[in-house]
C-alpha cells in the first residue's frame, strides 16, 4: 500500500491534488491504527471495608483531569480527534485541598498548576481558574479552599498572604487581607473555613501560630492561640473545619487535632506523635461524617484514620502506593452531605472518592 501510494505521488509529482490526498491518508492512518488497538488498563477497585454494625466504606472512583468529566463523544468529535489529535486536557499537577459545593462540584486547589480546578461530577463539566498573570492580586500558591452558603469560593494564597474570593462561576470577586501596596496581611494563610450562619471566616496563619476570625468583609474580630504545646496553643497549625458548634484545628507539628468551641475555648484533642495506628506523623486534611466521626489524613503514612468524638481510633483505610485505594502524600479531605469522602491523593495527582455507609444511611435505605 505504501509503495503504491508513493509511486503514485512520484509519477504525479507536479500534481498537488493526489499528493495531498496521499499525505492526509498517511497522516490519519497512524492515529486511526493506534486508536483501534490501544487498550486501557483498568485498576481493580479495592474491596469494601466492612465495619462494626453493618457499616462499610466503599471505594467509588477517582478523577484527575478534564478528560474524565467529558460525556459521550459524538462522531464528529471523534473524527476531529483522529485528525487533529485529542486536545490537551488540563489535569491535576500537585493538588492540595478540596471542597464540594451544593451542586456536587469538586473544587480542588492546585499549587503546582497555580490554579483551581472545578470538576462538575454531575454535569460532566470542567473549569480551571487561574490568576497567575494578573497585574492585581495574582494567585501565586492556592492552598486551602472553603465555600459559603452561596457556593462562593474562598481560597487561601499562602505566598501572597491573602484570601481570594470567587463567585460560583469562578469569576474573581474580591481579596481579603490585602494591604496598601499590594502586600498580604497574613504571613502564611493555609486553612480556611466559612461559617455562613454566623457570618464568620476562620483562617489559620501557620507562621504566626494563630487562628484569625474575620467577619465576611474581612475585618479581624478575634485571634485565637499562640505558639506552644498546651491547650489552645499551636505549633504550625494548618487546616481547620467548622462543624456545628465546634472548630477543629490541625495542630500539625504538635501532631494532634484540637477541638475548640467557636469562641476559641478548648474542648478536647485527638492524636499524638508516633508511627503506629492511632498516632499522627503528618496530619493534613480533616473531615466529619454524618455520625460525627473525625477523619484525619496522615500525609507521610498514606492513610486516613477515623476517630470517634472521644478520640478512639475506629479504623483506617489506605496505604502507600499508586493503586486504587492507595495514596502517596495525601493532603486534603472533604466529606459531603451524602458521606462521600473525597481524598486528595497529591503525589498520585488524583482525587479518590469513597462513600461511607453509616447506620443512618442504612436506616434510610431500609425505609425506602
Amino acid at each position: 500500500m505504501v509503495q503504491l501510494l508513493l509511486s503514485v505521488a512520484e509519477r504525479k509529482f507536479l500534481c498537488i491534488g493526489p499528493r495531498l490526498a496521499c499525505i492526509v491518508f498517511l497522516l490519519v492512518t497512524p492515529s486511526w491504527a493506534v486508536k483501534l488497538h490501544r487498550e486501557k488498563t483498568i485498576d481493580p477497585p479495592p474491596p469494601d471495608i466492612l465495619l462494626e454494625g453493618g457499616r462499610k466504606l466503599h471505594y467509588e472512583r477517582s478523577f484527575s483531569s478534564e478528560r474524565e468529566m467529558e460525556g459521550k463523544r459524538g462522531f464528529w468529535t471523534k473524527l476531529v480527534d483522529v485528525i487533529a489529535g485529542e486536545p490537551d486536557h488540563p489535569q491535576l499537577v500537585r493538588p492540595y485541598s478540596i471542597a464540594v459545593d451544593s451542586r456536587g462540584r469538586a473544587i480542588v486547589t492546585d499549587p503546582g498548576a497555580n490554579g483551581i480546578h472545578i470538576f462538575d461530577l454531575e454535569q460532566h463539566k470542567y473549569k480551571f481558574i487561574e490568576r497567575r498573570d494578573k497585574d492585581k492580586d495574582p494567585m501565586r500558591s492556592p492552598q486551602c479552599v472553603a465555600l459559603d452558603a452561596q457556593d462562593n469560593i474562598y481560597v487561601t494564597d499562602s505566598e501572597s498572604g491573602k484570601i481570594l474570593v470567587f463567585d460560583p462561576s469562578g469569576k474573581f470577586r474580591r481579596t481579603i487581607g490585602s494591604l496598601k501596596g499590594g502586600e498580604g496581611f497574613f504571613k502564611r494563610p493555609t486553612g480556611i473555613a466559612v461559617d455562613s450562619a454566623a457570618q464568620r471566616i476562620y483562617i489559620t496563619d501557620t507562621l504566626r501560630d494563630k487562628i484569625f476570625i474575620l467577619d465576611m468583609d474581612g475585618s479581624v474580630l478575634q485571634t485565637i492561640g499562640q505558639r506552644g504545646t498546651g491547650q489552645v496553643e499551636f505549633n504550625l497549625p494548618t487546616e481547620l473545619l467548622v462543624r456545628d458548634q465546634n472548630l477543629f484545628v490541625v495542630d500539625a507539628m504538635n501532631f494532634r487535632v484540637q477541638f475548640l468551641n467557636r469562641s476559641g475555648a478548648f474542648q478536647t484533642s485527638v492524636g499524638n506523635l508516633g508511627d503506629s495506628t492511632g498516632t499522627m506523623f503528618r496530619p493534613k486534611g480533616i473531615g466529619i461524617d454524618s455520625e460525627g466521626h473525625l477523619y484525619v489524613v496522615d500525609g507521610l503514612w498514606g492513610v486516613v484514620q477515623v476517630f470517634d468524638q472521644e478520640g478512639r481510633l475506629l479504623y483506617y483505610f489506605g496505604s502507600r502506593g499508586t493503586k486504587s485505594g492507595e495514596f502517596q502524600l495525601p493532603a486534603g479531605l472533604f466529606i459531603d452531605r451524602e458521606d462521600r469522602v473525597f481524598v486528595v491523593d497529591s503525589y498520585n495527582r488524583r482525587v479518590q472518592v469513597f462513600r461511607y455507609f453509616g447506620l443512618s444511611r442504612q436506616a434510610a435505605g431500609e425505609r425506602r
Binding site: Q3, P30, A33, V34, G85, D133, K134, D135
Partner: protein, 619 residues
C-alpha cells in the same frame, strides 16, 4: 543542495519507515520481553530558495521520532533512538538553509548490576553551525556532517577495585558557506580508570589514549592547500592519598604524557615528547580557624603536554622546542579566619626551572585578604586583594597584584551586581614570563511593572603577556533584554581582538598563560571582530510562537602573509502555531556572507518554508 528527486526519494523512505513501524504498532508494544514506546512528528512542507540568480522550490516530508524501550527489565537493557529528518528549520539559528537529518541513540546494558555498560551513536547530515571567533556573538555560517560512536563499560563489585573503560570515535567535516574547501577531523579516544581503597589509602590509576587526524583548509590564511596533521597522545596517571590527623589528608600523584605530532602542508613537520610530573601534598587544620597546606612538584618537561590541551578542543598544534625543561617547586600555604568576615592568606614557594640552557630560580612570597560585607544600606560586598613578590638570582623582578571585587545591591528598584578581577605581573608556567589580566561583568535588572522587566549587562576581558607588548587578547560585550508580558526583545553588541589559532571548528584564542614565542610564527592569526544582533520573540496564548532576528558580523584576520575580511548578515524568522497535535510551521532565512579570500564566492541565499506536522503517540 539535494536535487528535488533525491529529496522526494529520501522523504518517502523516511515516511515509509515510520509508517511501517506504526501500522503493526500494537504488536510491538510488547514483543516477548521487549517493551517499546514510539512517538514523534510527521510533517509536510513546501520550501523555496533563491541563491543569487537561481531559485528552486520543492515539496517534501519532515519528521522526527523518539523510540524508547527496554528488554526484560530497564535495568537489564534500555534504549533510546531519536531519528529526525528535515527538522533543522524549527530549532536552528540558520533556519531552513539546509535539510538536516540524523539520529541520536544510546543503549544502556546491565545498568542494575555491578557491570553496567553503554553504547551510543549519533549522526548529523548536512547540519548548520558557526565557525567561531573568540569573543564574538556571531561567527561565519558553515555546514557539515558529524558522527560519533562510543562504548563504555564499568565494574563496581563491592570491595573490588572499581574499573571504568570507554572508547569513542568521532568524525566530522564542515565547510564555510562561500568556500569549496572542507575541513575534516576524526578522533579516537580510549580511557581506562580504576579506583580502590586499601586500608585507608585511596588509590587511583588511569590511562588515556587519544588520536586526532585533521585536514584543515584555512580560508583565512595564506596556505594554498589543506594542512594535514596527525597527533597521538598517551596519558598515564597514578594517585594515592590518605587521611591525616587534624582533619587533613596527604597524597602523592604521578602522571606522564607522551605525544607524537606530525603535519604536512608545503613542508613536513614532526614533533614528539614526553613529560613526567610528580606531585606531593599535605593539608591539615591545626586550629579551628586555620588550615595549612604544603606541596612539592617536579616536572621534567613542562611543555611536553602543551600541544593538545592548549586549545581545549583536542586539536593538536605544533610548538617550538625549548630543549630540556625541568621545574621543581616547593611551597606552603596558610589560611586564617581572622574575623567573622575577614579571611587572610599567606603563601611562600621556591621554584627552580631550567630551559634554553639556562637555570632560573625564584622565591615568591604572597599574601591576600578576603572580606565579606553585608549591610542593609550598602548591600553585599566582598573583595580580596593580594600581592606577590618574586625574587630570583638576578634580583627582585617586581611586585605582582591580584584583586577581585563582587558587589550586589538594590538601588531604587534596580538590582545591580558587579564582578571585577584584576591581576598584574602574575607568573605564568615559565618563570621569566608574567601575565596581566582584567575582567569585569556587571548587570542591572529592574521590574518596570507587572510582567515587565528590563535587564542590561556589560562584560569584558583583557589579558596579555607582560613582556609581549601588543599581544593581548580582549573581548567586550554589551547585551540587553526587555520583557513585556509575553514579548521579548533582546540585543547585543560585541567586539574582540587578539591572536588565535585556526582549528576545524573555528579560531581559538591563544591562552595568555603561555608566551606566544613558543608557537611557530606562521601558526598564529591576528583577528579583529565586531558583531551585533537583535531578536524579538513572543509566545501568544501558549499556541503561537513568533521569533525574528537579525545578526551582523564583521571580521578581519591577518596571518603573516594574508589579510582577510569577512562579513556576515543573517535574518531569520520562524512562526509556529499549535492546534491540538497539529503544528503549522513557517520560516524565512536570509544569509549574506562574503570572504575576501581568492576563490571565495559571495553568498546571498534566501530560503523560506511553510508546512504542517502532526504529533503521534504511536505506541
Amino acid at each position: 543542495m539535494l536535487s528535488r528527486l533525491e529529496r522526494v526519494h529520501n522523504s518517502c523512505c523516511i515516511l515509509a519507515g515510520l509508517l511501517l513501524l506504526t501500522l503493526p504498532s500494537v504488536a510491538q508494544m510488547e514483543v516477548g520481553d521487549a517493551k517499546m514506546n514510539l512517538n514523534g512528528n510527521i510533517g509536510f512542507n513546501y520550501a523555496g530558495g533563491m541563491n543569487g540568480e537561481s531559485s528552486d522550490h520543492s515539496l517534501g516530508f519532515s519528521g522526527n521520532g523518539n523510540l524508547t524501550g527496554n528488554y526484560y527489565n530497564p535495568n537489564f537493557l534500555n534504549f533510546n533512538v531519536q531519528p529526525f529528518y528535515n527538522r533543522e528549520q524549527t530549532d536552528s539559528l540558520f533556519g531552513s538553509l539546509t535539510n538536516t537529518g540524523g539520529v541520536t541513540s544510546n543503549v544502556n546494558l546491565f545498568s542494575g548490576s555491578h557491570f553496567p555498560g553503554s553504547i551510543s551513536y549519533n549522526k548529523l547530515i548536512n547540519s548548520t553551525g558557526q565557525f567561531g571567533v573568540p569573543g564574538s556573538g556571531v561567527g561565519l555560517a558553515e555546514h557539515g556532517n558529524t558522527q560519533g560512536f562510543g562504548v563504555g563499560w564499568s565494574e563496581g563489585v563491592p570491595d573490588w577495585p572499581m574499573l571504568m573503560a570507554s572508547y569513542a570515535i568521532n568524525s566530522g567535516s564542515n565547510s564555510i558557506y562561500g568556500l569549496q574547501d572542507k575541513s575534516t577531523d576524526s578522533s579516537h579516544t580510549f580511557n581506562l580508570l580504576s579506583t580502590y581503597e586499601l586500608r585507608g589509602y585511596r588509590l587511583t590509576g588511569g590511562y588515556t589514549h587519544r588520536n586526532v587526524d585533521d585536514s584543515i583548509s584555512n580560508p583565512l590564511g595564506s596556505d594554498e592547500g589543506p594542512i594535514r596533521s596527525n597527533s597521538s597522545s598517551n596519558y598515564y596517571q597514578a594517585n594515592v592519598s590518605h587521611s591525616f590527623p587534624m582533619s587533613g589528608a596527604y597524597g602523592v600523584s604521578w602522571n606522564r604524557v607522551s605525544y607524537d605530532y606530525g603535519s604536512q602542508d608545503s613542508a613536513s613537520l614532526s614533533n614528539s615528547g614526553a613529560s613526567d610530573n610528580v606531585n606531593g601534598t599535605l593539608v591539615f587544620t591545626p586550629m579551628r580557624k586555620m588550615n595549612l597546606a604544603f606541596d612539592a612538584n617536579y616536572t621534567d618537561n613542562l611543555l611536553g603536554n602543551v600541544p593538545q590541551p592548549i586549545l581545549g578542543s583536542g586539536t593538536a598544534i605544533n610548538v617550538t622546542s625549548l630543549g630540556t625543561f625541568r621545574s621543581f617547586l616547593v611551597g606552603a600555604d596558610a589560611n586564617y579566619q581572622l574575623l567573622k568576615n575577614l579571611n587572610v592568606h599567606a603563601d611562600v614557594n621556591h621554584q627552580q626551572q631550567e630551559f634554553l640552557g639556562q637555570s632560573y630560580g625564584a622565591t615568591q612570597f604572597g599574601g591576600s585578604a578576603n572580606y565579606n560585607f553585608e549591610h542593609k544600606l550598602f548591600g553585599h560586598l566582598s573583595f580580596s586583594v593580594g600581592v606577590v613578590d618574586t625574587a630570583n638570582q638576578y634580583g627582585n623582578t617586581g611586585l605582582g597584584f591580584v584583586g577581585t571585587l563582587n558587589y550586589a545591591r538594590k538601588v531604587v528598584g534596580w538590582e545591580v551586581d558587579a564582578n571585577v578581577s584584576y591581576a598584574q605581573n602574575v607568573a605564568t608556567q615559565m618563570l621569566i614570563y608574567t601575565t596581566s589580566s582584567f575582567n569585569y561583568i556587571t548587570n542591572a535588572r529592574r521590574r518596570l511593572g507587572a510582567r515587565t522587566y528590563f535587564m542590561a549587562g556589560v562584560s569584558g576581558e583583557h589579558s596579555g603577556i607582560s613582556a609581549n607588548t601588543g599581544s593581548s587578547n580582549s573581548a567586550e560585550r554589551i547585551s540587553s533584554v526587555f520583557i513585556y508580558h509575553a514579548y521579548n526583545l533582546n540585543g547585543f553588541y560585541s567586539k574582540s581582538h587578539g591572536e588565535a589559532i585556526f582549528t576545524p571548528t573555528g579560531l581559538v584564542a591563544v591562552p595568555t598563560t603561555l608566551p606566544t614565542s613558543i608557537f611557530l610564527p606562521n601558526s598564529l592569526i591576528a583577528y579583529d571582530s565586531k558583531g551585533w544582533g537583535l531578536n524579538a520573540s513572543t509566545l501568544i496564548r501558549r499556541k503561537l510562537t513568533i521569533s525574528m532576528g537579525y545578526a551582523s558580523y564583521n571580521g578581519s584576520t591577518v596571518d603573516p602573509l594574508l589579510s582577510t575580511f569577512t562579513k556576515t548578515e543573517l535574518i531569520n524568522g520562524i512562526m509556529q502555531y499549535r492546534l491540538r497535535k497539529i503544528f503549522l510551521n513557517a520560516g524565512y532565512t536570509r544569509l549574506k556572507q562574503r570572504i575576501s579570500t581568492p576563490g571565495a564566492i559571495p553568498v546571498n541565499v534566501t530560503t523560506y518554508y511553510i508546512g504542517f506536522s502532526r504529533w503521534f503517540n504511536f505506541f
